[in-house]
Amino acid sequence: MDLTYTADEEAFRAEARAFIAENLPPSLAAKVKGGKRLAKEDYELWHARLQSRNWLAWSWPVEQGGPGWGPVEKHIFEEECVAAGAPRIIPFGVNMLGPVLLEFGTPAQKAHWLPRILDGSDWWAQGYSEPGAGSDLASLRTRAVREGDHYVVTGQKTWTTLGHHANMMFCLVRTDPAAKPQAGISFLLIDMATPGIEVRPIVTLDGEHEVNEIWLEDVRVPAENLVGEENRGWTVAKFLLGHERTGIAGVAYSKALMNRLKRVAAAQRKGGKPLAADPLFAARMARLEIDLMAMDIFNLRVLSEAKAGTAEGANASLLKIKGTQVRQEATDLIRRALGPYAMPYLPEALDEGWNGEEIGPAGANPVANQYFNMRKLSIYGGSNEIQKNIVAKAMLGL
């Protein structure tokens, strides 16, 4: 056992750090770190910078434009990106559809769509969940009926993250209503400009618009946009969800939050002393830090197994559960640390260019809403309850 990074891995970290320092505009990093709203262009800029070095498509093989990183390199790069305040990579195209096309796509589909993911021509949305199909995804009801060279799609998708930016959507649709739930599903690529599509914003509990409902009525989709075989879409869907779960622990994000918590607790005063020196609060922080340290090693253990080619699906579920707990706890403690100054909220202060006077300690404004927003972590990407079902079945044989 050796718990240190190899010299090569450390050299890679230095290289990654230098690249980020050179390519991430400080104004953008400040927006990310300040919890400000990001524009579509902010994400596109960062994607383009990464692609300029072939570092956008981590999950792709080298011959298709990937950087050839192993899991440890990916982990290191993510850590460096988050610590520097880089916008997250929007996963729908590059980390979800990309691997799906590489696995299931026809040569024509690969040739057409993959380059467009890399150069940013397409912004993809994910059309999976429906109002009646959340944890029970296989019960989805959006219908696709074959008519000549087209599928005609009618139904409703929901929780479509940044769907209002998207020009394309990959979508699970029911092509055989008579079959068992999992058996009658197909995977379609849909142009958002097709007549019959309406994108409606969902405002979340923090007052923000990030997710959407997508209404589809008689939307004509060319049959060549079917990925994989008709009625075999569930296999594709499961493959994609597996990719959604890599990096699911979010260790990098938890580390960034832990650092932020320490800064806030050092600056806040309680009884004339720093809050960080208060025994009760220090105990809360220490418990969290111990969980985070252990999770960091747990995550690396799973990653190195993946490197050796023995990744186990249930481990990803365990990491997802613990990762979301730690991240949610961190946002809870940052909120607590601010005391009464967690209350004030100026929505306008999240806009780029706002230069009004803050209320309370610097950076306090978005903190409470970040705590509320982070409740989503244990709900999306397969709720923590679903992850426990997976572990009970796949790992424990219950």
Binding site: G134, D136, V203, L205, P344, A368, R375, N384
Partner: protein, 376 residues
């Protein structure tokens, strides 16, 4: 011993419940919160008319309630309604020092809902410690000047009169040398910066520069009155939290019974059933702590303060559990603005940032126990 309410209180509860059910719909509530004052003057006047403010004030000061049970009853209903009108600021925190000072004329207007009061005590560096006051008071007799800053003053931007704590002697952290003063909203040297709060309320940052003020009670000895005032606020918030929790529980239970996944209602999954039971049990615990605090609001200081600290600690702890579990058991729908539940959950969680959080009251509970032990 019995736990039944008197007929008068039962009627008061029914009145409040009916009004909030029939008149205070969620859309109206959101509209009220979005008004410049952060609440609806119309609804406030209607609720004053029903006697909901007067129920918080004792008869000798012109009200018809004011006991712990009254406060708990009214605030549980206000919690159920997710009310944004300034009951805490004007009916409890701003009013109690005036009750003690015998300011019946001003109280009469406040009970009628015509005058708004606020209580400016917390300071930017003070966190939740009641003695961390550095705002200064200089003067004599009825003529004083206040200078300093006050933080996150609930409804401080719309209040007509503000009760302000200030130090006439000593250092921040000392209980001696504090005074409570009455400041008019248009007093010279008073600057108010109002803003919305994350759960839908309003608050203000106050800056006082040689602001003229009138003392309430003996100057320099106000700490016990501050503690008493905040204590009534704590009871109000803890009781309100019970109302918030009950709604969270009812909505979640209803959802589990109706939402179908995997071919059956979610409520048929045992793992989720047990979590609902846990939530139910903890709410009963919190409710019991609030009843204890309500019933001992007039008891000796040690008993009263310890029970209040227990109630605020437990409602804070259980409140977070209920808010988080209610969201999680609902799933995505509870993350949406258009659904009522997240607004209850937000209020419930943010209540922990008012008048002392779970940690503050845990420490306070320990300290009060030690004091009582040392005295015995």
């Amino acid at each position: 011993m019995h736990f039944t309410l008197s007929d008068e209180r039962r009627m008061l509860g029914e009145t409040a419940g009916r009004f909030l059910r029939e008149r205070y719909e969620m859309e109206l509530r959101h509209a009220a919160a979005a008004e410049p004052d952060g609440f609806s003057r119309t609804l406030w006047a209607e609720m004053a008319e029903l006697g909901l403010i007067g129920a918080l004030i004792p008869p000798e000061a012109g009200g018809f309630g004011g006991a712990g049970e009254d406060i708990a009853l009214v605030f549980e209903h206000l919690g159920r309604g997710l009310v944004v009108e300034p009951f805490l600021a004007s009916g409890i925190l701003g009013a109690w020092p005036l009750v003690r000072a015998g300011e019946t004329a001003l109280l009469e207007q406040a009970i009628a809902g015509e005058t708004l009061l606020a209580f400016a005590h917390g300071e930017p560096e003070g966190r939740y410690d009641l003695a961390e006051v550095s705002c200064r008071a200089d003067g004599a007799d009825a003529d004083w000047r206040l200078s300093g800053r006050k933080a996150v003053v609930a409804n401080g931007d719309s209040a007509d009169w503000i009760v302000v704590s200030a130090r006439t002697a000593g250092e921040p952290g000392e209980r001696a040398g504090l005074g409570l003063f009455l400041v008019a909203a248009d007093a010279p040297g008073l600057d108010r910066r109002g803003y919305g709060t994350v759960e839908g309320g309003r608050a203000a940052e106050l800056t006082l520069a040689e602001t003229p003020a009138r003392p309430l009670g003996p100057v320099g000895e106000a700490y016990p009155l501050i503690e008493e005032t905040v204590g009534r606020g704590i009871l109000a918030l803890a009781a309100e939290a019970i109302g918030l929790m009950e709604v969270c529980r009812e909505m979640t239970l209803d959802y589990l019974k109706t939402r179908q996944q995997f071919g059956r209602p979610l409520g048929q999954f045992q793992a989720l059933q047990h979590r609902m039971v846990e939530m139910t049990l903890e709410i009963e615990q919190a409710r019991s702590a609030v009843m204890l605090a309500a019933g001992t609001l007039e008891a000796d200081r040690s008993t009263r303060e310890r029970n209040l600290a227990a109630a605020k600690h437990l409602t804070g702890r259980v409140g977070r559990l209920v808010a988080e579990e209610a969201i999680q058991l609902h799933g995505g729908i509870a993350m949406t603005w258009d659904y009522a539940l997240p607004h209850y959950a937000k209020r419930l969680v943010m209540t922990d940032h008012l008048l002392g959080d779970t940690d503050h009251h845990l420490e306070r509970f320990i300290a009060l126990g030690r004091e009582a032990g040392a005295a015995a």
